[in-house]
Symmetry: C2
Subunit: 142 residues, 2 copies
Amino acid sequence: MEQHSPSKKIKSILADRKAYTTPHRQAIVNLLAQSKPMSAQDIISALKKADINRATVYRELKFLKELGLIEELQLPGRKKYYEIQKHHHHHLICTRCHTIKQLELPRLVCKLLADITYINNCTITNHNLEFSGLCNRCQKYL
Amino acid sequence: MEQHSPSKKIKSILADRKAYTTPHRQAIVNLLAQSKPMSAQDIISALKKADINRATVYRELKFLKELGLIEELQLPGRKKYYEIQKHHHHHLICTRCHTIKQLELPRLVCKLLADITYINNCTITNHNLEFSGLCNRCQKYL
DNA sequence: TTGACAAATGCGACAAAGTCGCATATTATA
DNA sequence: TATAATATGCGACTTTGTCGCATTTGTCAA
């Protein structure tokens, strides 16, 4: 497998936490950096040449999530999906072809969250806004 | 267990689908009608006197969901939660006490969905908007 | 460059959530 | 009340994820 060396930024984040830059860790980060959101099993399959233990993959995903390097998506269905942490955004999972697309959201959404906090007198630390339906390719066929 | 007889409406929905009005089915619907969102395991435990098989509960939840009588919530975490289908709404799960509260959302949200569909040229059939954070009771303590 | 120590890994067993096929039981209705 | 469709129990199985522990690997300072 081709191993891109991790960016300076990632290396320093790892160093700050006294975390090592291991081949497995790099492989997972690189894989996610180049692809759509993947489930743990997707990652295990994709890296089967590297022969990474299942438990290691799960541990790694948990760890990278804590570090804020990747994000965990709670899409409809049983599995969690992971993707490289970019700017915050949301997804559509197609009920026909099961591809996951990133959605463009009107700016309004941020304001909305503030309103919700105010109306309900609570402290929102996290939200999960995901969609399912038909992607633009599949909606032509039905 | 006290068995309220199901409403006419529910009976007719069941009849339309040639589904039977069985004690187990009634027990599950009645239970959900009287409580906060519950996981499958919560339901199994709550109905342990009725001694309903696990598989039956899962099958029933799936079926009631298809009928539109209950809704499946995808909250952060591994389990799914179920609640009686009321008007569409959203939840906050408290990261401290884990209670699930229904949130009041500004009307804006509906319009937002239409905008998202338009901007992204897709067909949204379902969305999942759930929150985690601190409920109004717990936010006093931290 | 190497040795020591912390961090990462593999392994295998375990757990929780959910599914399936099949034999049996229950329900609606003619 | 007989019958045909539906629901249920049972148990094995799958998937997703976790854990403890022994071993290996990465880092850093001497």
